[in-house]
């Protein structure tokens, strides 16, 4: 029983250790730059106001989807750095389709969501096919595809864009009113609402958990991640798994931009659409240990840090970019502390097994396992 307790303690201890380290390092940076450490942390750690709480939840929804997308790859030892490009291509495709309004109401929304997932899957699938057939590292392929995605989307946007009156901002036609996803009003006294898409995100999280942990497909995916050679011997087609996993990761990546597209004005994809969401997903997937609950907590943490750092410039006179340093450092400390804890846990386990077996064989009369043959 206390074995399980140790396991839980280790599982919680690792991210806490990482966070503590990251905060310590950030404090050192602040100290070195002569900034008021205490005031910065006081602002960041203060309890957010209602408006900020909504913003944190909304931001976390987006980051959660991004983290899920990355972690699907991680579970198979694939490093999908291309979530950034995938969500860009996908949200553009969704915006272009939804803006046309071919179907009425929510049918239009559903079509756009499917298009986004297909576009993300296809974009990630390129890297998957290259890896499976030609052995191209998915890290390189997805990074390159990020650049191509940015250029491609900018190029296509110019073709379909409608220019807003009196502005240089260009964007796709806005999603028709009936196809937007209404927000959830949490506090009646503030106008900001929680993305309705958050419900969908939670469902995706549950589906992720079920598929990876409960199904045969998920087992094969994890088995391939742990040992590709053992997977081959067990009748798993590693090539097919590579392509499928990349496409699945891309499909989820395709959802990343949709809460924003369907939930905030101007309800379109334009040159000012939020960028960089894919990279945050890598950090969050690492922090959340590829578990949907962990990823949700990680997304909340990152969204919290972002939101709380916004007024730093005004209140304390420190650039909010300090939080980006914290987030970056978290990625490093998380990797280190998980590895330390993993090794420690493995050693503990090995010792426990050895000790238990030694006890058992001592309890048996003859400690040496003699064989029937030898006795013959």
């Amino acid at each position: 029983m206390n074995v399980r307790l140790t396991k839980v303690a280790l599982a919680i201890g690792a991210p806490l250790l990482a966070l503590a380290l990251a905060f310590a390092i950030t404090s050192l940076v602040l100290l070195a730059a002569g900034d008021p450490v205490g005031e910065v942390w006081a602002q960041i750690i203060s309890w957010p106001e209602a408006r900020n709480q909504v913003n944190i939840l909304n931001n976390a929804t987006v980051l959660f989807l991004s983290g899920l997308a990355v972690s699907i790859g991680f579970r198979m030892n694939l490093f999908n750095i291309g979530v950034d490009g995938q969500y860009r291509v996908a949200v553009f495709a969704a915006a272009a389709v939804a803006g046309e309004g071919w179907l009425p109401g929510y049918l239009n929304t559903a079509l756009a969501i499917v298009c986004a997932m297909l576009a993300g899957a296809a974009w990630a699938g390129i890297a998957g096919v290259l890896k499976a057939t030609r052995g191209v590292s998915e890290v390189i392929a997805t990074i390159m595809l990020n650049f191509i995605a940015t250029a491609l989307v900018a190029y296509l946007l110019a073709k379909v864009a409608v220019r807003e009156e009196g502005s240089n901002v260009i964007g796709t036609a806005p999603v028709p009113e009936g196809s937007r996803i209404p927000g959830i009003q949490m506090w009646s006294d503030i106008p900001t609402e929680i993305y309705g898409f958050i419900v969908f995100a939670v469902l995706v999280g549950v589906a992720y958990w079920f598929t990876l942990n409960k199904t045969r497909f998920g087992f094969e995916l994890r088995a391939t991640g742990r040992s590709a050679s053992a997977a081959v011997a067990s009748g798993i087609s590693v090539r097919r798994m590579t392509i499928t996993t990349m496409m699945l990761s891309g499909a989820v990546a395709g959802l990343v931009g949709l809460p924003i597209l369907f939930g905030t004005s101007p309800y379109n994809y334009g040159s000012t659409f939020q960028s960089g969401l894919g990279f945050a997903g890598i950090a969050i997937a690492l922090l959340g240990r590829n578990h949907p609950v962990g990823i949700a907590l990680g997304a909340l943490l990152f969204a919290f840090l972002d939101e709380q750092s916004n007024p730093l410039q005004i209140l304390v006179g420190v650039s909010p970019d300090i939080v980006a340093i914290t987030q970056g450092v978290i990625v490093l400390t998380v990797v280190v502390s998980y590895e330390l804890v993993r090794r420690y846990g493995a050693r503990l386990e090995q010792r426990r097994v050895a000790a238990q077996l030694a006890r058992e064989s001592a309890a048996a009369k003859d400690p040496r396992p003699t064989t029937k043959e030898a006795a013959r």
Binding site: A223, A230, S237, V353, L357, P369
Partner: protein
């Protein structure tokens, strides 16, 4: 059978060995001790790898360290090369006690190691490989080239410094490895199972090189478990059993049989075939199986055989002659295989590995860590592995944890897997217990064919006997068994029929009740009845 069995192709009488008997020039040994190991101990969790090891290696001699797989030879050599520190004991080199904490320390002390798996960059030249990491010695230009040529000439290595390593054969690569350690100033050279990858002529050459090194006053530590090679080349032999040194003997006063007794103790169980259960119903029929390697050469060439219900077919061969490829072709793990594979009347040659498993093939892979287990996954997940499409592990695409755990417990009980439970990661188990789990898993789901590749390699004697029992039981229950092993006594003891594989072809069928290890050994090396010194080159294109 006697109370003792000699392992492998080692009960061969003097003189008929595959390698020409070398003159044992013991006088080259000056009597000075180059390396002295005293009381070396090393523990890993749950395993005592080394315990009170004592060895003296005389300068200018070839000192062999022999022992079974898993006896602790590799651990000892890693300690001597500074890869891992000993828990106890002392190491003296040329009379001074040293603490070797990294290989750099060992190199500084004049110790060099040639690993079994070569560590060479294929796309670089010999010279570049040799100077890599040792640029400070003689630079990377003319001086280094001259030095390489000088060493090559001095020890008769015959190496052209400007050849690319990828163009070299296995024997030449090994000489490059030796040259590498000599270049770094080694006076004590450790060779870890150097002959495992060599064909007999190359073994002859290697031994010639070793004699050359000895003549120049270098000390060679030669690790092996092939006893006739050891007997023919070593000046002194230390035997390791269960992690400790049991004897140091003079090769002139010991026979390979006595050496084998020392190596395995008296605990060796014998694989005894029981009354024949062979039926005339063909279970597996392989016809014209062929496979080409990446270089276009045939690694399997027109292989045909049948295995009947209740029959064990043993495949004998020197490692690297196509055994692994044969198994992987039958399992469908390698693309590009041609020919027919018929399992109980159904051609499975076009099927995927999964479909072949579902058709009733159980597979005990030769490398359990790479192909048989997910080391960091709990035992029950390892039970599911390879059976993830079948009851009780899964139903309608969903893994059934509870059923899988229960069935894992069944295997643990029935196959005597020593583990505290089903949640333990596979890595925490000893090799023998891992292997018993694999055998138990592969025997579930009612297979009709069991492929067992080196099933007792690296497992302890107790597990070995248990695994033999399980294979015999499989045969009694009417399975067809394809057994691949490097252990000739295991093959002779278990098989109903033995086929010898040489360079990807089946070259002879033997009746295990009539054949001796010597005869098998000759067939395996292609020597046939010819004189042992001229291993006839097979003329196949």
């Amino acid at each position: 059978m006697d109370d003792l069995v000699v392992h492998g192709p080692l009960a061969r009488p003097e003189g008929s060995s595959l390698v020409t008997s070398l003159s044992r020039d013991a006088s080259a040994a000056t009597g000075e001790v180059a390396v002295r190991l005293r009381g070396i101990g090393k523990r890993f969790p749950g395993v005592i790898a080394n315990d009170d090891i004592n060895i003296d290696v005389a300068r200018g001699s070839i000192h062999a360290v022999v022992g079974e797989n898993g006896a602790g030879k590799s651990t000892l050599m890693k300690i001597l090369y500074g890869v891992q520190p000993p828990d106890s004991g002392t190491i003296e080199v040329n009379g001074t006690e040293l603490a070797l904490s990294t290989p750099a320390d060992a190199i500084k002390a004049g110790i060099g190691m040639v690993f079994q798996h070569f560590m060479l960059a294929d796309n670089l030249t010999v010279l570049e490989n040799v100077v890599l990491g040792a640029e400070s010695l003689h630079g990377i230009g003319g001086a280094a080239r001259a030095k390489v040529a000088e060493i090559s000439a001095a020890y008769g290595l015959g190496i052209d410094p400007d050849r690319r390593v990828e163009d070299l054969g296995v024997g030449a690569r090994q000489r490059v490895e030796i040259l590498k350690v000599l270049y770094r100033g080694a006076r004590i050279i450790i060779l870890d199972e150097p002959t495992a990858v060599l064909v007999p002529q190359e073994v002859d050459e290697l031994f010639g090189n070793l004699r050359e090194l000895k003549r120049e006053g270098l000390s060679v530590i030669f690790i092996s478990h092939k006893l006739d090679e050891v007997l023919s080349v070593a000046d002194e032999i230390t035997v390791i059993r269960r992690g400790t040194t049991v004897a140091t003997v003079d090769p002139r006063s010991v026979t390979s049989r006595q050496l084998a007794e020392l190596m395995v103790g008296s605990e060796l169980p014998t694989p005894q075939t029981e009354a024949s259960t062979v039926t005339d119903e063909v279970m597996l029929s392989v016809r014209g199986l062929g496979l080409r390697g990446p270089d276009g050469r045939a690694v399997l060439d027109d292989i045909s055989f049948d295995i009947h219900r209740g029959e064990i077919l043993g495949i004998a061969g020197v490692e690297g002659n196509g055994q692994s490829e044969l198994v992987e072709a039958v399992m469908g793990m390698r693309g590009g295989a041609e020919g027919a594979v018929v399992l109980s009347g159904r051609d499975i040659a076009g099927l995927s590995t999964r479909a072949r498993r579902e058709a009733g093939i159980g597979y005990v892979p030769e490398d359990r860590h790479r192909h048989g287990l997910l080391l960091d996954a709990p035992l029950w997940e390892n039970r599911v592995l390879g059976h993830q499409t079948r009851e009780p592990s899964a139903r309608r695409g969903v893994i059934r944890r509870r059923a899988a755990r229960a069935d894992t417990q069944r295997i643990i009980d029935a196959y005597d897997v020593r583990t505290p439970g089903t949640e333990v990661p596979a890595r925490a188990l000893s090799g023998g217990n891992q292997q018993k789990l694999i055998v138990g898993r592969e025997m579930s789901a009612d297979p009709v064919l069991l492929i067992a590749s080196h099933p007792t390699r690296g497992v302890d004697v107790g597990a070995q006997g248990a695994i033999w029992d399980h294979i015999k039981r499989a045969r009694r229950e009417g399975l067809a068994v394809l057994l691949i092993s490097a252990d000739l006594d295991e093959l002779i003891g278990l098989s109903d029929r033995i086929e010898v594989v040489l360079r990807g072809r089946l070259v002879g069928t033997f009746d295990p009740s009539a054949v001796t290890p010597e005869e098998l050994g000759s067939a395996m090396t292609g020597a046939g009845d010819a004189a042992p010194t001229t291993t006839t080159e097979e003329t196949r294109g």
